[in-house]
Amino acid sequence: MSLDLLTAVTIFVLSLLVGVEVISKVPATLHTPLMSGANSIHGVVLVGAMAIAATAHDTLGYVLAFFAVAFGAMNVVGGYVVTDRMLHMFRGSRKQG
């Protein structure tokens, strides 16, 4: 996984642009679920935490890795579930438009 800085920055910038564009005029009622949904996405830090766990080799490393993985997992699992619960109330959306 080599990544030179320019490439990393390029990807970063493009992702920022995507992030800016992807939020349109959202109804206020969706603000919180949307925030929660975005919150779950940065739970992807779990992937990084797993990589750390994979390279850890001393106690400090294991401890850090444990917390990183646990935190990440909590962010991911809790985040998606709570978002889904929030969105439950829009179930009534049976309109065509």
């Binding site: 970063f12 797993m50 490393g61 444990f66 991911v76």
Partner: protein, 464 residues
């Protein structure tokens, strides 16, 4: 194989984008979240496969990994499922805190474990740790404030401003130091401690009403921290997802602040000093009043099956009958059943509402009388009270006041109540209306004409 997995991760990242996009619309939001969750699952499994294939992981490593996964998942799942609807925002804040914490830990662990760290990783690592740590304590505190564990009022102590500046300077300084010398443990510790402290002092002076905006802002922070962690670890998916959340979170924060008529700068900077006055619009002694925006009300209306409109003198005073009829027509056109419940003494002359609604060409069959309406409220999703007051005031059911004994429209039997008026001001009889503090009630403070026009526009964005 490794490359293939990288493509899988890229696809997952693209799905995050798609998921967020779908979450912009009520009708597709849930699907969006599921897509995003699915992509996340794939990404985790793919990473697991990579780790297994490389086989550099120790057995303890595996144990730690699974223990962490299990602990985090169970905790997250439990918290998410058991939380009450009203407590969800603080839970989101909590999840955000652990996310930020994890991002900071990644960089810390990388720096500690590293032997010859190239200097240029120092910059993102330093940013990652700073932001991650600030988010960690800041979000925890925000959650605590919302939950009531910490006072929701802005907490200001003498010299707070000075302390803040000192801590900020310390954090900044150690951050720069660490960026330059990524292997310096002192710098690392200083930065971690400073940032954790700054998270606290940043959120402490901000009032509870502004918390949603702050949480959203901290959410964007975490995104950025995760992206930086991606730089440190060289993981593209972290960069993409992190930047995505960073940018979309920032936009969302702006939207939220706009919807509340606040500016982000005001909230953060204003936090250091002035008390916030967003709550002053709320009810006096008797209870709390929940007020909503046009969008909030619009979504209730657009997704209702049955709406009963209760017109009152305010509708006439604002001469908003055409806007009212227009909104009703829009809703009817999208399959919502709309009727008008006309109270015998609504307005200021017999038949006032009839004259008004006839002017707007509301067909007679849409008007229902009080008795009939009172039978129907229980089946209504929304009772939309427009400029009416006395005729909906539950005080009439008690004795000892000027409207005692007057039959009223039982709007409080509807599943939810929306009241459009300019203030909590009184009606003809000069009485407070406890309907406004009913937990079912959303107040939409506006002149009826302007308010209904805004509402119509907002509804149109949903039913489009």
């Amino acid at each position: 194989m490794d490359t293939a997995i990288q493509y899988v991760l890229l696809a997952a990242a693209a799905c995050f984008v798609l998921g967020l996009r779908l979450m912009n619309h009520p009708a597709t939001a849930r699907r969006g979240n599921l897509l995003s969750a699915g992509a996340m699952g794939v990404a985790v499994v793919a990473t697991g496969v990579v780790i297994a294939r490389h086989a550099t992981i120790t057995v303890t490593g595996w144990a730690v990994l699974f223990a962490g996964l299990a602990t985090g998942s169970v905790a997250g799942l439990y918290a998410a499922r058991s939380v009450r609807m009203t407590a969800m925002p603080q839970l989101v804040s909590l999840f955000n805190a652990v996310g930020g914490g994890a991002a900071a830990l990644l960089a810390v662990s990388d720096l500690i474990g590293a032997h010859a760290v190239p200097v240029r990783v120092g910059v993102p690592a330093s940013i990652d740790i700073a932001i991650g740590a600030v988010t960690f304590t800041g979000s925890l505190l925000a959650a605590g404030k919302l939950q009531g564990l910490v006072s929701g009022a802005p907490i200001v102590f003498p010299g707070a401003r000075l302390v803040n500046v000192v801590i900020a300077a310390l954090t900044l300084g150690s951050g720069v130091w660490l960026a330059a010398r990524p292997d310096n443990t002192v710098a690392l510790v200083l930065l971690v401690v400073g940032a954790l402290a700054f998270g606290v002092t940043m959120v402490l002076p901000i009032g509870g009403a502004d918390m949603p905006v702050v949480i959203s802002l901290l959410n964007a922070f975490t995104g950025t921290a995760v992206a930086m962690a991606g730089f440190v670890l060289g993981q593209t998916i972290l960069i993409i997802a992190g930047a995505l959340v960073g940018a979309s979170g920032a936009i969302l924060t702006k939207l939220m602040a706009d919807a509340m008529n606040r500016s982000i700068a005001n909230i953060i900077i204003g936090g250091f000093g002035t008390a916030d006055d967003a709550a002053s619009a709320e009810g006096g002694a008797q209870g709390t009043v929940r007020s909503g925006s046009a969008d909030d009300v619009a979504i209730q209306l657009a997704y209702a099956n049955k709406v009963i409109v209760v017109p009152g003198y305010g509708l006439a005073a604002a001469q908003a009958q055409h806007e009212m009829a227009g909104l009703a027509q829009l809703l009817t056109g999208h399959g919502v059943e709309v009727t008008y419940a006309v109270h015998p003494v609504a307005g200021r002359m017999p038949g006032h509402m009839n004259v008004l609604l006839a002017e707007a060409n509301v067909p007679y069959p849409q008007l229902i009388e009080m008795e009939e309406a009172n039978g129907e409220f229980a089946r209504a999703d929304v009772a939309l009270v427009v400029g009416a007051n006395d005729v909906t005031n539950p005080a009439a059911r008690r004795s000892g006041n000027p409207i005692s004994g007057m039959p009223i429209l039982d709007v409080d039997h509807a599943r939810s109540v929306v009241v459009i008026k300019r203030s909590l001001g009184h009606g003809y009889a000069g009485l407070d209306n406890e309907l406004y503090t009913d937990p079912k009630t959303t107040m939409y403070f506006a002149d009826a004409k302007q308010g209904l026009a805004a509402l119509t526009a907002a509804v149109r964005t949903f039913v489009g």
